[in-house]
């Protein structure tokens, strides 16, 4: 009897201790995969069109960090007043009536939707953010997704949203259905992120919030900005196809071997081709995101590797990244030619499209200008 009681207590103690240990472990690092903060921009840097590109962007040596000059979203002026109610047909063909846009939640994996609402001048109505939204005006809003891009219904309801905008990249999908069960209008937009459908996403968001005119204005502005930026980049990039840098976007996390290549349709392909560079992943036929095969990566011979800042830090910076099997055997690895950008920004598209292209183009074609600036 005595022995049994003691061993029971022991087992209970072990179980309790392990629960406490694990919970304590989770609590201390809620957002380990995101670089802490969007870096301050440098608003008065030399315009891209006035920079002198390096002679050969393929053989430049050393890492560069691309910093977006204006990290906050520039809204349309003046802020529009939503005309409600509106009934819209969303991306999935669902008819939704929105009759109040006073408390907005715009949530997706890339942070595009929240940025779009801010771009429409309705940022003061946003009541929460996803884990991909970190620009200065939004970063202090309550976070409604946990690390794995998972939604929690009660947490969302607690913010009393009058309308929710999302796509299909956050889960579980049942939570979205629960929100609809609860009577909240949920408008679903396309999950596709490229430089070509900014306008569609902006118009869908603006339509659902009853500000279609502001939507047209913002959509036109973004398209103009991207076009102008493409033209500036074309002037910087080498004319000769063979002298254009071969670029690959790698998603790396930690030293445990989470290395993915972002290929066609991942968004990274759109960025790389807009930069006038050769998208290595598309060239070798990577669809979506795929784990790296070290030999295949070495064979593809990228000159430059694009990364998220947090990802680069997680493998120990440029020196660590140069040691990743496969990377070490590429020209990029040998030249330590890594270009990184803040995790929140690099694949955010939407209103940040042109500023992101601008910063990446500087890092790719005129890396010395970043050093001069500071």
């Amino acid at each position: 009897m005595f022995i049994r009681a003691r061993s029971r207590r022991f087992a209970a103690g072990v179980a309790l201790a392990s629960v406490v240990l694990v919970l304590a472990g989770c609590g201390s690092a809620p957002e380990p995969t995101r670089a802490a903060r969007v870096p301050e921009g440098n608003a008065d840097q030399t315009p891209l069109s006035e920079l002198t590109p390096v002679a050969d962007p393929r053989s430049y040596e050393g890492p560069s960090t691309a910093i977006v000059a204006q990290p906050d979203i520039v809204p349309v002026e003046p802020a529009p007043r939503p005309r409600l109610p509106v009934t819209v047909t969303d991306h999935q063909g669902t008819q939704i009536t929105v009759d109040d846009a006073s408390r907005v939640l715009a949530l997706d994996r890339s942070g595009t939707l929240a940025a779009t609402v801010f771009g429409l001048g309705l940022g003061d109505r946003v009541v929460g953010r996803d884990s991909s939204t970190g620009f200065p005006a939004a970063r202090d809003l309550p976070l409604v997704t946990s690390n794995g891009h998972q939604l929690n219904s009660e947490a969302v309801l607690k913010l009393r949203p009058s309308v929710v905008l999302t796509d299909t990249t956050l889960g579980p999908w049942s939570v979205v259905l629960q929100l609809r069960d609860a009577g909240i209008p949920v408008v679903v937009v396309t999950p596709q992120r490229t430089l070509d459908n900014n306008g569609d996403i902006v118009r869908a968001v603006a339509g659902a919030l009853g500000v279609p005119d502001a939507g047209t204005e913002l959509a036109d502005r973004l398209d103009r900005e991207v076009e102008a930026k493409r033209a500036e980049i074309a002037a910087l990039a080498p004319d000769d196809e063979t002298r254009r840098p071969r670029v690959v976007f790698l998603y790396v996390r930690g030293t445990a071997g989470v290395y993915h290549m972002f290929g066609k349709g991942s968004g990274a392909d759109a960025l790389i081709s807009a930069l006038g560079a050769v998208d290595v992943a598309s060239e070798v036929g990577v669809d979506g995101t795929r784990p790296i095969n070290p030999e295949a990566l070495a064979k593809a011979k990228p000159d430059v590797i694009l990364l998220m800042t947090g990802g680069l830090e997680s493998v120990g910076g440029a020196d660590g990244a140069a040691g990743i099997p496969g990377v070490a055997q590429t020209p990029a690895g040998q030249h330590r030619r890594f270009v990184d950008m803040n995790d929140y920004q690099i694949l955010s598209f939407g209103p940040l499209s042109a500023p992101v292209l601008d910063a990446l183009a500087r890092a790719l074609y005129a890396p010395d200008s970043l050093k001069a600036a500071g």
């Binding site: 794995g148 998972q150 009660e154 607690k158 069960d181 009577g183 979506g288």
Partner: protein, 365 residues
């Protein structure tokens, strides 16, 4: 695995419960389980991230049944959080936990093996293959029911495949069946790994989420679709209890006593496959409930299935509701994977059970 010759699923029970005190223990056990279930369910219904005062929760429930004693929440969002999010989740936790508990008891009884749980014959891994298929290929032909429906079908199919493969000359030997289960589980694991590779990043995250188990997306329609299956399976399980008691004497003895052992095994496996596939199709994989709960009950009241099966039903439900309560509230704006919690408590507990049995009886061989 030679344990099939004697009634092995009952380690330690003889010393734990002297015969004369057993009826009292049974009454006390059921009283504690029912009371615990009511209390934990009510606490679970009252506690959540939305933060609604207890009086309003009670008021809201009473209002729905027509009693206007306490004020319901004036805030429509609070009302929605209770009725569209929290309550279906509590009910689904009860159903899924109960199913896992009962099916663990059925499997251990049917196989005469203390390690048996629904996962052994491939229910969970089979269901996971179906779920992963629909996630990776983005199938939505049944709307929001596509993933659970596929999980249900593949879970069922995998289990039946294990049974058919293990059968020869009209019999399915226990050890053969468990080993067939190991082989089929390995293939299912390979299929899941390939689907993880083939999926994009969002699909990968969904698969991980599904495999860790969660009740985060519970809705009334889900409760409505699995409740009838759970009810039917629970009733059949209760009807099988007496035969499982005879089976614990050994296959041959049970046959002499008039039990059609093969039919009994088949019925048990079908019941387990249907009920567990239905349960995990919404919740994802939740381990250890089916393994640990029946062992715990047996330690208290002995091996008789007429007590074990209903007590495992209640015990499983209690364990899962409690685990879900923790999963929902441990972190702001986040849900812990419930499968992680059950395994975290279940793993050390099972180890202790192993040590205890070894000390007393030389252990399972």
């Amino acid at each position: 695995m030679t344990a099939t010759a004697s009634p092995p699923a009952t380690p330690g029970t003889d010393t734990a419960a002297p015969a004369g005190r057993r009826p009292v223990r049974v009454v006390v056990l059921f009283a504690v389980l029912v009371a615990g279930l009511v209390v934990v369910s009510l606490v679970s219904a009252a506690v959540g991230q939305f933060g609604i005062p207890l009086s309003q929760v009670v008021g809201s429930i009473l209002n729905r049944v027509g009693i206007d004693v306490l004020a319901a929440p004036a805030d429509p969002f609070a009302e929605a959080a209770l009725w569209d999010v929290r309550f279906p989740r509590v009910v689904l936790a009860l159903l899924v936990g109960g199913v896992l508990g009962v099916c663990g008891a059925l499997m251990q009884g049917c196989f005469g093996n203390p390690l048996a749980e629904p996962g052994v014959v491939g229910v969970s891994s089979g269901a996971a293959v179906g779920a992963c298929l629909s996630i990776v290929f983005g199938w939505t032909f049944l709307g929001s029911f596509t993933t659970p429906a596929l999980a249900f079908c593949t879970g069922l199919a995998t289990t039946l495949a294990v049974y058919v493969l293990a059968r020869s000359k009209g019999k399915a030997g226990v050890v053969t069946m468990i080993l067939t289960g190991v082989a089929v589980n390995a293939v299912a694991g390979a299929a899941i790994s390939f689907l993880v590779f083939a999926g994009d990043q969002a699909a990968r995250e969904q698969i991980v989420f599904w495999q860790l188990g969660s009740l985060a997306g519970s809705r009334w329609v889900y409760v409505a679709t699995i409740a009838p299956l759970v009810a039917v399976c629970a009733i059949v399980a209760l009807l099988l209890a007496k035969r499982l008691d005879l089976l614990s004497l050994g296959d041959r003895q049970a046959r002499h006593l008039g039990v059609d052992v093969e039919v009994l095994r088949l019925v048990t496996i079908v019941v387990v496959a249907v009920a567990v596939s239905a349960a995990v199709s919404y919740s994802g994989i939740i381990g250890f409930v089916g393994l640990v709960v029946p062992h715990l009950i047996r330690m208290i009241t002995g091996p008789g299935h007429r007590v074990l099966i209903p007590a495992s039903l209640l015990g499983g439900a209690l364990l899962l509701v409690a685990a879900d309560l923790l999963a929902r509230n441990a972190f702001d704006y986040a849900d812990l994977p419930i499968g992680m919690l059950t395994a975290l408590v279940g793993g050390p507990f099972f180890f202790w059970l192993l040590l205890r049995t070894r000390r007393r009886e030389g252990g399972w061989t």
